[in-house]
Every structure is written in structure tokens, then in C-alpha cells.
């Protein structure tokens, strides 16, 4: 600060604001650095929380999807089991495909040895 005042007092009429700013800034590198870091971390916080929210929303969507899929799966399992019930299949193949269980005489046993 004292240097700043000195320069102003030595040449009161011949000064350029930009030059002063630049020289001031170059003289206080640490503070400028700190300032920049504060600003950038602040932005990072903002960005971070924004991204965090985005991720949360995505996760929420996925969890919802998972729940929906689970429900759908449960319903499909029920449908599958109702349709593939053993006695039903046996009836259907007998009626529609004319299949039957082979009797003992018709069975051929292949022994692998």
C-alpha cells in the first residue's frame, strides 16, 4: 500500500489506471493467486453441486426404472408360471400336438459306458 501511495504522490498527473492495476497485481502475486483460487473453487463448488444434482436425478430415474422392471418381471414370472403349469402343458401337448408319454415298451435306454 505504501508504495502505491508513493507512486501516486511522485507523479500525480501522469498515471494510467491500467498500468497501476497491472503493477499492483504483479506486486501482490500471492493475493491474486489466492483470489483466483477462491473464485475458481467457488465456481467448482457450484459446478460440483450441479453435477451432483444431475447424478442424483439420473440415479433416481434408474432406481425408478429398476422398480418398474422388477414389478414387470414379477408379473411376467406369474404369467409364465401360469402358462407353463405342468398339468396344463401335458394337456395341451396331448390335445394339440397329439403327443403322449412313451410307455415302457417304447422306451429305448441308451447306456453310456
Amino acid at each position: 500500500m505504501s508504495e502505491g501511495q508513493n507512486s501516486r504522490t511522485t507523479s500525480p498527473t501522469n498515471f494510467s489506471l491500467v498500468l497501476i492495476l497491472v503493477s499492483d497485481l504483479t506486486r501482490n502475486k500471492l493475493r491474486v493467486l489466492l483470489y483466483l483460487m477462491v473464485v475458481s473453487t467457488a465456481m467448482a463448488v457450484v459446478l460440483g453441486s450441479h453435477l451432483n444434482r444431475q447424478q442424483n436425478m439420473a440415479m433416481e430415474n434408474l432406481m425408478q426404472q429398476k422398480d418398474d422392471l422388477d414389478v414387470e418381471w414379477r408379473n411376467l414370472v406369474l404369467e409364465q408360471r401360469a402358462l407353463t403349469e405342468h398339468n396344463r402343458i401335458e394337456n395341451e401337448v396331448q390335445k394339440q400336438l397329439n403327443m403322449y408319454r412313451p410307455s415302457a415298451d417304447e422306451e429305448v435306454v441308451v447306456k453310456l459306458k
Partner: protein, 591 residues
């Protein structure tokens, strides 16, 4: 004040005194003070709000953004040994009303919407409206277990004060086939009967919850707290659904054909004690149990004890063999076909003369088994009954299991011992009988039955235990083959392609004061005899038709179930002349 005066003097001395307005120091100060006061005021207020009493605003903010979400859990899935689902829960909705809100917001005036609601629920509109008449009540269920599609419709009706709640509903895709075994749950998803009840804690999870913050559009932007619920456990049974379905079909047909009061069957894997099928008729539909009377819900294979009759006869022969009073080739003289024991009569249906042990089983001779039973010491015979598990639980660990009925007494008359040898004076359940036959088939090693594969039960289970020698168990098993052959009591129990050993049991049911006219028909058997795999017991209770001998009723049912089960389990036929090599040779020889 002095400064003020000094300044005033100074300004008067300046050259442009007349042009420049005088600097009114007090006014300037006033403005300064006011401005500062405003900011101080704001600061103080902000500090008050933020630091000293922030709770109210935090609460207000939370009210608008914070939500608690419940994470639904569903009751665990019950599967059979191959992973086929036997019981699945699916989410449904409950429609409930808040009569207070309805009255406050005039919900009852929208009569058309109520009509639409009654229509979709299939209820009477006035009946529905009368439920919400009392404005003091805050909660009334209008309908439970509503399908999601219907729930959506109700949601769109948008009647004030009518809301939806998540709940789940249990479906049993196999319906009545597994009804008694698996049991049922009530409308609140807690188990009432069968395995659903036994494993209620395991099958029930606890719902988790998450506290979230949401934005104006209702999207979750932050998860504040997440409590994991406890995942519901799944249950894997030892049942094979195919065998179960087959057995149930046969049992049901038999019950109707023989006009029986009830029928049940159990199929057991002899090596592990796994129950492959456990069926009872009459059954009920667990998905819609409006007509399910208690007698249909009972799992008769484990709850109902019957006098096993002749099906216990192999035990008498086995006892004699184990004690060493007879050898496999020995004969027993049953002449003249009857005898008196302490004033009571033991008799065969005709005089069978001299019988080998095999023929005693084949012809089901009461005289033969009585003589064998009386030929061994009483404690030895009784011990055999105990060690075969006929008086204890089978290890199956299901609610309502009966241990049978066997009076422990110190004094036994000869007649009582004789009747015990042909299966009277003791009551056993179908499962206990199946365990005895499985033990015989398993070379004399008694395995506890089990019906749940996973989770492993942590309660006490009897250990596998050798109860009779392998040689004698094997011998009795071979003797039982004669029963299903020509000349035996149950040729109808034969399974084409397989060697089968078994025993009929036709016993009269005890009534007050003696034995009545009702019969219990039992067939218990093992197959294939060359390398036993499965034991099956079929029980037909009170057949009312013309046929009431086990050889005519239970035996053919046994044959169907056993044959199907062996085929489904890919057990190679052991009673076949046609093997691949022979077949090929036959082909090459031109026939």
C-alpha cells in the same frame, strides 16, 4: 458541535461562497445515520433469522423440499428345487378415503365420479358413499388389493379425499396343487398357514426409506439420508413342481373316482430325505380362497394320523430278521389261519399254511407277522417302532405336524403286540410312513425328511442314523417286490419298466367303541428296486365306492405317481430286457 461551528466559518471564508450551496453537515450526518441504520437493521434482522431463530424458516423450507420416500419391499419368492416360482408377490394398490377431507372439499357432491368409482370396483355406489359419511373419521379402506390399472383409473377420477396406498398381493401360480404345503398369507401379507407361516420372518423384509430433497419440478436433487431396509429372503423348497403337479392330478382323480373323503400322497428322495411332492385333496385355490374351509387347508400328509394297517407288516418281518429269530429263507407255519391270543382272535382271510417270509408280505398274512412279532422280545419290537421314526416327528419342521399316536405303556399283552405287527394300535402320518419306507430303501439309514432346501434350518434336526443293517433292509425290500407281482395283493401298483417294492394297507377306521365301516387305503412303496431312489406313499381316506381294498384304490394311483416321478427324474428303467445293446443286436439279427 464545535467542529460544526468551525466548518461553517471556513465555508464562509471561501471565494465562491455565494455560488456553492452551503454544506449542511447535520443533514449529511442524518442521511449517513439513516443509511447506516437501515443496513444495521437489515443485518440485525438477517442475523436474527439466520442465527438466533432459524428453526422456523428451516422447517418451512424443509416442508417445501424435503420428502421421505419409502422403498417398497416385497415378500420373498418361494421356488421349487429347480427354481420354478411357486409364490410371488406383486405390487397392488389399496384405495382409501379420508372422510374429513372429503367433507371439507365437497367430494361427495361429485356424484358421477362416485358412480364411476363404484362401477370400476364392482360395488354399490350408495354402499361406498355410506362408508365415508362420518366426517370425524380420518381413514377408511374402500377397496384393497386393486390392480395397478384400476388404481390408475381411480387416480384419474381425482375425487378429493380419496387416495391410493401401495401394498402387495401374493399369487400362487400353481394354485391348488401346492396350496396346503405353501399355505397362504392374509391381506396384510403375513403368513397364516403352511410354510408361509413357518417362514414368515424370513420371507418378510423391512422396507427401507430415503430422505430426499427435491426441486420445484419434483426431481430428487439430494439424498439426505438413506436407510437400507432388510431384503426379504427367498425360500427354495425340495419340491419338484412337475412331480407335485402330477401327484396332485392323480390324487384328485382318485379321490373323485373312489368317492373318498380325502386323499394324500408324498414322494420322498430316499438318499437325502428331500420331499419331492406332498399333495392333498380336496384342496383349495389359494389365489381366491372365498370357499376355503379349514378341512381343505390342512396338510393331511403331516397332520392326519391313521392306523397304517398292513403297510406296517414289513416292520415285523424286519424285526424278526434283525433279532435273528428267523433267516431270509425260513418259513412260518400259519396253520390253521387263526389263533387265539388272550381271548382275542387273530386270523387271516383264509388258511395260508406254511409261508416263507416273502409270502407273508406278499399275502399280507396277519398270522405270519403276529408269530414273527411274538418271536422277538417285546422291547426289541417296540424299539424298532421308535427307531423307524413312527412315533417322532419326521424333521420336516412344518406347522401342525403330528407325531402320530402311540401309547407308551409298560405292559403289553400278546394280542396288542400282534396287532401292532399288522399295523393297528398305532397311528402314523403319511409322512412318517414315507420316512420308514425311505429308511428301508436307503439301506437302513434313517434320514430326516425336509421340505426346505434354502435357507438351511437352524432348528434341531435329527441326524442321519443307521437303524437296521443294510443286509436285512435290502432283504425286506426284495420281499416287497412280490406284492406287486402276479399273486401279490397289489399287482396294480406295478410300474412298467421298473422294479417296484411296496406294501398295501387296508385298515378299518377306529370309531368310539371299536372299528367302524370306513376304510383307509394305503400303498407305500419304493422304486427302482435295483438302485432305490424314490419312496412314495399314497393314502386314500374313506373310499365310498365299490372298491375299498388298497390294492384296487391306492395301488394304481401309486403306480401312476411313481411311474411319472421316475420318468421325470430320469431314472433308468431297471426292469427292461431292451437295453441299447440288445436292441441293436436284435436289429442286426433281423428281429
Amino acid at each position: 458541535m464545535s467542529i460544526f461551528a468551525l466548518d461553517a466559518k471556513k465555508t464562509k471564508k471561501g471565494a465562491k461562497q455565494n455560488v456553492t450551496p452551503s454544506f449542511m453537515q447535520w443533514r449529511f450526518m442524518l442521511v449517513i445515520v439513516l443509511v447506516i441504520a437501515v443496513f444495521v437493521g437489515l443485518g440485525v434482522r438477517a442475523a436474527y433469522i439466520q442465527v438466533i431463530a432459524p428453526d422456523n424458516l428451516i422447517a418451512q423450507g424443509d416442508n417445501r423440499t424435503m420428502r421421505t420416500k419409502d422403498m417398497p419391499t416385497y415378500r420373498g419368492i418361494i421356488t421349487d428345487r429347480n427354481g420354478v416360482e411357486l409364490a410371488v408377490s406383486v405390487p397392488v394398490r389399496a384405495i382409501y378415503a379420508d372422510p374429513k377431507i372429503i367433507h371439507e372439499q365437497g367430494g361427495l357432491e361429485q356424484y358421477e365420479r362416485w358412480e364411476a368409482l363404484a362401477d370400476v370396483l364392482g360395488r354399490d355406489v350408495e354402499d361406498l358413499r355410506s362408508k365415508v359419511q362420518n366426517p370425524k373419521r380420518r381413514f377408511v379402506y374402500l377397496q384393497r388389493q386393486v390392480s395397478p390399472a384400476m388404481a390408475d383409473y381411480v387416480d384419474k377420477l381425482d375425487i378429493p379425499g380419496i387416495y391410493l396406498r401401495r401394498e402387495s398381493r401374493r399369487y400362487y401360480p400353481n394354485g391348488e396343487v401346492t396350496a396346503q404345503l405353501i399355505g397362504i398369507t392374509d391381506v396384510d401379507d403375513s403368513g397364516l398357514e403352511g410354510l408361509e407361516r413357518q417362514y414368515d420372518d424370513w420371507l418378510t423384509g423391512t422396507p427401507g426409506s430415503r430422505v430426499i430433497r427435491r426441486d420445484a419440478k419434483g426431481r430428487t436433487v439430494e439424498v439426505l439420508k438413506s436407510t437400507d431396509g432388510e431384503e426379504a429372503g427367498n425360500l427354495k423348497l425340495t419340491i419338484d413342481q412337475r412331480i407335485q403337479a402330477l401327484a396332485y392330478r392323480e390324487i384328485k382323480e382318485a379321490m373323485m373316482y373312489f368317492q373318498a373323503a380325502s386323499a394324500s400322497a408324498i414322494v420322498v428322495d430316499i438318499h437325502t430325505g428331500d420331499v419331492l411332492a406332498m399333495v392333498n385333496a380336496p384342496s383349495f385355490n389359494p389365489n381366491d380362497r372365498g370357499n376355503a374351509s379349514p378341512h381343505r387347508m390342512r396338510n393331511r400328509t403331516i397332520t392326519d394320523a391313521f392306523e397304517p394297517g398292513s403297510s406296517l407288516k414289513p416292520l415285523a418281518v424286519l424285526s424278526a430278521l434283525e433279532y435273528g429269530s428267523v433267516k431270509v429263507g425260513d418259513t412260518v407255519d400259519t396253520y390253521p389261519g387263526w389263533m387265539r391270543l388272550g381271548g382275542s382272535l387273530v386270523k387271516d382271510h383264509r388258511n395260508l399254511g406254511k409261508l416263507t417270509l416273502e409270502e407273508i408280505i406278499q399275502h399280507s398274512s396277519n398270522m405270519g407277522t403276529s408269530k414273527l412279532a411274538l418271536g422277538v422280545p417285546k422291547p426289541f419290537l417296540l424299539n424298532m417302532v421308535y427307531s423307524m421314526g413312527l412315533t417322532s416327528d419326521t424333521g420336516i419342521n412344518m406347522p401342525g405336524e403330528s407325531n402320530g399316536l402311540f401309547h407308551e405303556r409298560t405292559r403289553w399283552s400278546d394280542f396288542e403286540l400282534a396287532t401292532l405287527s399288522f399295523g393297528y394300535g398305532i397311528s402314523v402320518t403319511t409322512a412318517q410312513l414315507a420316512r420308514m419306507y425311505a429308511t428301508l430303501a436307503n439301506g437302513g439309514i434313517s434320514m430326516p425328511l425336509r421340505v426346505v432346501q434354502q435357507p438351511e434350518s437352524d432348528v434341531y434336526r435329527p441326524q442321519p442314523q443307521r437303524v437296521v443293517s443294510e443286509k436285512n433292509a435290502r432283504a425286506v425290500l426284495e420281499m416287497m417286490e412280490s406284492v406287486v407281482l402276479r399273486g401279490g395283493t397289489a399287482p396294480k401298483a406295478a410300474v412298467p419298466g421298473y422294479r417296484v417294492g411296496g406294501k398295501t394297507g387296508t385298515s378299518r377306521k377306529a370309531v368310539a367303541g371299536g372299528y367302524g365301516d370306513e376304510y383307509v387305503n394305503i400303498f407305500a412303496g419304493v422304486a427302482p428296486l435295483s438302485d432305490p431312489q424314490i419312496a412314495t406313499v399314497v393314502l386314500i381316506n374313506e373310499p365310498a365306492g365299490d372298491l375299498y381294498y388298497a390294492g384296487d384304490t391306492a395301488a394304481p394311483v401309486f403306480s401312476e405317481i411313481m411311474g411319472g416321478a421316475l420318468q421325470l427324474m430320469n431314472v433308468a428303467p431297471d426292469d427292461k430286457q431292451v437295453t441299447s445293446t440288445k436292441w441293436l443286436n436284435g436289429g442286426s439279427n433281423g428281429g
